[in-house]
Symmetry: C2
Subunit: 340 residues, 2 copies
Amino acid sequence: MEKRITVKEVANLAGVSRTTVSRVLNNFPYINHSTKQNVLAAVKTLGYEPDQIARSLIKQKTRTIGLIIDDVSNSFFAETAKIIIKTARQYNYDVIINDAKKENLDKVLKKLQEKRVCGVLIGSIVRNHSNIIMEEFEFPIVLYNCDVDRSNVYSIMVDNKKGSFLAVEHLYGLGHRKIAFISGPLTQSTFYERFIGYLQSLEHFGLIYDQDLVYSGQYSYDHLFEFVKGLLSRIDKPTCFFVSSDQMAIDVLGSISQQGFDIPKDISVVGFDDINISSNPYLSLTTISNEKTEMATNAIKELINLIEGQSVFTKSLKIKLDPTIIVRNTTCGINAQDSF
Amino acid sequence: MEKRITVKEVANLAGVSRTTVSRVLNNFPYINHSTKQNVLAAVKTLGYEPDQIARSLIKQKTRTIGLIIDDVSNSFFAETAKIIIKTARQYNYDVIINDAKKENLDKVLKKLQEKRVCGVLIGSIVRNHSNIIMEEFEFPIVLYNCDVDRSNVYSIMVDNKKGSFLAVEHLYGLGHRKIAFISGPLTQSTFYERFIGYLQSLEHFGLIYDQDLVYSGQYSYDHLFEFVKGLLSRIDKPTCFFVSSDQMAIDVLGSISQQGFDIPKDISVVGFDDINISSNPYLSLTTISNEKTEMATNAIKELINLIEGQSVFTKSLKIKLDPTIIVRNTTCGINAQDSF
DNA sequence: CTGTTAGCGCGTTCAC
DNA sequence: GTGAACGCGCTAACAG
């Protein structure tokens, strides 16, 4: 490992000062054409690469942003991370991914602050998290697909209540009256809102709420399987499931089929998120789109705007996207036999 | 945004020099207990956070590694990225993810070098990529799930040829004789080796190679669908598919079922990678495990060892993991009717 | 148009 | 045990 080339070497070779080299490399106007060529030649022959760390120190800008999510292996986060990384790259930002449990959030944010990131994107957070106060950090923060109970925080998410309504409306229209609801922990705003939307929709259609038809808790195939199994062994079993994330919905599909029921003939299933695999004909999951592409794109662009000092969000700090229902093959009209 | 606290402020408040503050924070021995307490108190009241950028500049170490992959939204990469990020975090490294097309690889590596990363992990690369020469970069590079045609490059991957053998052996044992093969571009070492393994296995079992049964090319559902459709409309259609990635295998499942065939009764399918979703009972894909957990863990650990100056790889720079077959429900004995 | 001087925030000699 | 001085690699301010 030979010593790294610095501006000094380049300056010496080109017979100019370090400042001039710096100017050439940063495309300053008013530089003598020939000296510019000299410098460029020197850079090339020495294979000089500017040190971004030194640059960051003096400019107080690292061109790095942090992305904090719960679980990169979750398709929704993986798919949005892809968009975020790509968009950030277009604006010449790198992204440090932190796959952090929510409990560590404060610690992770502090670490990122020490690394002097220019901004942070958060994809999952508990609803009542107290410490996310914009003013407490020296960089902007944008939440996506989640929110906290504070008005002064930037966030972008789909209208989850409306999404739930679309799901229930679809199932109701198909004749379903007993609609089971499955979701992750209600401490997260996303699941909470989807649950509230479910409740409100039941009321809207004059259906009664049955607590036994609801599962909400930590993601675990075994737990879910047991719950579904229990439900399907009842005489008055539900005719359909509304699952508030596709990832869990696919597990529900598995659990249902393991009980020997046919989807959608015996049991209908609606998911939420529209992750890529849901459109695969082998699954062909009816689901609610959370507009992930628009969400991720807007989140990263807004963050960059905030970093560079101009906001694109208009009146409100909170943006709600409009969900749509995507009807595929896991839902159908209620089985005639069951109607009797 | 008030000015950031530096060592200077802390030193003043504690009534000591900046050097002493630095010593306290870096846990030097031989420091007067009381002055240490003073400094710590000052740090706390001022809310001082050491600037890792300044630290990186002087120590010439950023505690950051780069992870270059093709597509984070691909489950295999998402799942390994999760492990890599988590393990890196345990060793106090952050990871910058670059979702880079292979063509950009050199540019991305250069960018990472300018950012002074301590090391780089690469998850996908073309087989004959010429520029990955360890000596050309000032940081160590470890490849996982891929390799290049050079001996002096660290890499860790599963024994792909053996993996293919396990797949063919399994299908052969079930009575299948016409085995279609589907894979991504053969320019990638992983797909190439799996293909070679397929060929060698055919020969081993005395089966003839039929070029028409092979698809290899860029990942695209539509192309794949057309290919499968064409194959299944033939009179002498294959009775099974060996697909060299689970991600594509799931698409093949979709394509087959869209043609009205039952899996596995009419057509068997074997995948490769054992991504998480493959074990879901609704898919229950028979597949070859590429030992992704061990692969990712070893790759990041080896990289860190290389960074910190001690290698764990023993004789060879190249490690091969032992694949296993995981038999689930997409394969079964050949349909009796077809045997006639 | 170009060079000189100073300093970003910190860790590391070397004295005391 | 502790402090003063120097430098990591680069750019900003000020001359000229």
